[in-house]
């Protein structure tokens, strides 16, 4: 008999791995990915491929150059690439997509220590930097099936007072409206949400509280119009952000109540920016702002040791 292993307990481990979790997120993103190709054409596929490839190669190159442990196999760079691409308009120039991806992976993720160490969501931060740097980041294109001529997003139309040009709620639901590639198809995002819940990758707390807060505040401030509140929920990047960005492990609180607070903060900020800001969309800024508050929320909502007695 060969030698026995005598490492300490526990001797069995769950089958959940980092790579497995990332794979689940990728699978959950696939419906929205398919919808983006269906709505915006093959270019959506092309841009997503550019973002994913740049993120993966960027991470690999950075880790090779800095002689760090290679973590590129954990698929987290693929998730970042997909999320970034979903947050961009389909007509974004390729070189901008490449720069955005490198900002996400190298600047926001790796320079802060790599997976698990970044304090802000890489894809979101990159998107906000692009938004402030390149005009094209907000030049949205209308997808197939959309009646409107220009590329004004529903939230922009509401901000301009052009409510009569809004697509129907049904079209909003299936994604036939202007916006970023991956944010428009609500039903695909919800399918991904259900998948992540079933696989226990995320909990419901942040997404439900986030979206619920925006819905409730919009409802209360629009003379109790359910329709107006629904446009706020389905418009912009709310669902994409609430389901896939506000649930990122490293940049959000780990406990149940932490997640509720985080979602509440995101909802309040999103509503405030949309309602009172000059910019019609507020999800990215809201999540990013709450990312910064995460260490404090985590501390505030940390679990207390059960049965612990204060030291004398």
């Amino acid at each position: 008999m060969s030698k026995l292993n005598v490492s300490v307990s526990p001797h069995i481990r769950s089958g959940v791995t980092t790579t497995g979790i990332m794979l689940d997120v990728i699978i959950a993103l696939l419906p929205a990915f398919a919808a983006s190709v269906w709505l915006f054409g093959a270019r959506a596929l092309y841009i997503t491929a550019i973002c994913v490839l740049t993120c993966v190669l960027g991470e690999l190159a950075f880790e090779l150059i800095t002689k760090r442990e290679l973590t590129v196999g954990d698929l987290s760079a693929v998730v970042t690439g997909m999320l970034l691409s979903f947050n961009l308009p389909v007509d974004i120039p390729e070189w901008q997509a490449v720069i955005g991806s490198l900002i996400a992976i190298v600047v926001v993720k790796q320079l802060f220590g790599g997976i698990g160490c970044n304090f802000a969501n890489p894809a979101l931060t990159a998107r906000v930097i692009m938004l402030l740097s390149f005009a094209q980041t907000t030049a949205f294109t209308a997808p197939r099936g959309a009646d409107l001529v220009g590329g004004a997003t529903p939230l922009a139309l509401i901000a301009q007072g052009d409510e009569d040009k809004l697509p129907t709620l049904f079209k909003m639901f299936i994604g036939e409206r202007a916006g970023s590639m991956g944010e428009t198809c609500a039903i695909a995002l919800i399918v991904g949400f259900i998948y992540l819940l079933c696989r226990k990758v995320i909990t419901w707390h942040t997404p439900v509280v986030f979206v619920g807060t925006v819905f409730l505040l919009s409802f209360l401030t629009s003379d109790f119009s359910l329709e107006a509140a629904m446009y706020q929920v389905l418009g912009g990047g709310l669902l994409l952000g609430a389901i896939f960005m506000a649930t990122d492990y490293s940049t959000t609180p780990p406990t149940k109540w932490g997640k509720v607070l985080f979602g509440l903060g995101c909802g309040l900020l999103t509503f405030t920016i949309r309602r009172f800001g000059s910019y019609p969309e507020g999800v990215s800024f809201a999540i990013l702002f709450m990312n910064i508050l995460t260490p404090y929320i985590s501390k505030l909502t940390a679990r207390r040791p059960v049965g612990g007695v204060k030291a004398k």
């Binding site: 008999m1 292993n5 307990s9 001797h11 481990r13 979790i21 790599g114 492990y249 780990p254 059960v306």
Partner: protein
């Protein structure tokens, strides 16, 4: 908070249906003098002495200690030190078996007529906590102020995967459990008995409910199938809603916890006078040819127990004393069945593979599953930084090493292992601090 947290682990209790099979005498038996918590027992035999089943071979070495009896008949070959899986070097009595299993003729039921004689009998019985901890039962039940005991909580949770020894006790030895309850009622004055059983054992729940109908003050609490229901604090909380606080013993909350097989063994000794000499052991795991429950004489080398179960059908990668969540890995097949051994698990490489550790992704699973609300990641960071004040605040001393955090970690980080190290360094630091303070005075 209705229940303390925990995790879902695979049950793998495929031996639950197998009534224990009696195993014969081994060729050789080993009796290390540490088979309990407390002072090592002191050998009272020397090489050449003849021993029988039930002969005292080592007497209790102190108040918190327990005597050790031979499980075999034969001749003492040697008394010298051996290395234990715990890493300690302890005196061990080796007995060459004659295969006859002759019972010691001097054994007789103890004279029990009051509390004092009951506790004295327990002290002689050699019974210790058979759930795995091995705390001497006489010490646990020997409470000075009997009025403090409000409930006796009987541990029938058996939350570790694979293990079914307690399950078999509840199915096969209900009468002895009942006798144990009546002994505690008579001599300890206890009137409330709560047995906690995980809901994955419907047969045991049925059997114990029918027992409860026959014994006043006994009730069954069905526990969720969430590991670690059998951990003392979790069990007490989930059965009585009382939380054993930091630094407290269960008795400080008016509770005594006793494992169901321990209770049955107490009753058997009082009735027959046969001390603890054999043990029902669950032999299971992917590498075992014929997984089953075996009643083996204490002292039997584990290799002989595995051989009795048809040997290995595939190469074992790890042999364990106890279950896969908290059991101890054995390095050598000559290690004996001990009093606390409730399982002998042989895991294949697939089952026990240690996957590479990757960076923490801060998913929070470890802290969210901890039954005691500890934060393993923060503890690991504080321990790496040797920040003892932080470890003190994080209450790492509460950690009961159940292993939930390590089990769920997707990055496969050695969390409970780091907790163990942190506990040890915190204890050292606190002791040193105390010494300094007394020096000043």
């Amino acid at each position: 908070m209705s229940h303390l947290k925990g995790i879902s682990v695979p049950h793998r209790k495929n031996t639950a249906e197998s009534a224990p099979v009696q195993m014969g005498a081994p060729t050789v038996a080993y009796y290390p003098t540490v088979q309990h918590i407390g002072a090592p027992a002191v050998p009272v035999v020397k090489a050449g002495d003849e021993v029988f089943v039930g002969t005292l071979i080592a007497e209790a070495g102190g108040f918190v200690s327990s005597p050790i009896y031979s499980g075999v008949s034969g001749k003492v070959k040697s008394v010298d030190g051996t290395l234990q899986p715990s890493g300690a070097f302890v005196p061990t009595v080796t007995v060459e078996c004659d295969g006859l299993q002759t019972v010691d003729g001097s054994l007789a039921p103890p004279d029990v007529h009051d509390t004092e004689s009951f506790i004295e009998a327990l002290r002689r019985s050699g019974v210790v906590g058979l759930g795995g901890a091995g705390f001497p039962t006489a010490v646990k039940l020997g409470v000075k102020d009997l009025s403090k005991i409000e409930h006796i909580v009987i541990n029938g949770a058996e939350c570790e995967p694979y293990l079914t020894g307690d399950t078999r006790t509840m199915l096969d030895r209900a009468e002895e459990i009942g006798e144990g309850i009546e002994l505690c009622r008579k001599y300890l004055g206890v009137s409330s008995f709560i047995i906690g059983i995980e809901k994955n054992k419907p047969g045991c729940i049925r059997e114990m409910r029918s027992l409860a109908a026959r014994h006043a003050g006994m009730r069954v609490t069905v526990l969720p199938s969430v590991y670690p229901q059998g951990a003392e604090k979790v069990l007490v909380y989930n059965t009585t809603k009382r939380m054993i606080k930091e630094g407290q013993l269960p008795i400080d909350q008016g509770v005594i916890v006793i494992n169901v097989t321990t209770l049955a063994s107490v009753a058997r000794y009082i009735k027959t006078g046969m001390p603890l000499t054999e043990k029902c052991v669950t032999v299971a795991g992917g590498a075992v040819a014929k997984p089953q429950n075996v009643i083996a004489p204490i002292g039997t080398p584990v290799g002989e127990v595995f051989d009795f179960c048809g040997g290995f059908k595939s190469e074992p990668y790890k042999l364990l004393y106890g279950g896969p969540m908290m059991g101890i890995a054995i390095a050598d097949k000559s290690a004996p069945v001990l009093k606390q051994t409730n399982g002998l698990i042989a895991l294949t490489k697939d089952e026990a593979a240690v996957r590479p550790t990757t960076p923490c992704i801060r998913c929070g699973r470890c802290t969210n599953v901890c039954p005691l609300g500890l934060a393993p990641v923060a503890i690991a960071a504080a321990n790496d930084a040797t920040d003892m004040e932080a470890l003190e605040k994080l209450k790492v001393n509460l950690c009961m090493e159940c292993g939930c955090c390590s089990y769920v970690c997707p990055a496969k980080r050695p969390l409970v292992q780091q907790n163990k190290l942190a506990k040890a360094s915190l204890r050292d630091w606190q002791n040193k601090k105390k010494e300094k303070e007394t020096d000043k005075k």
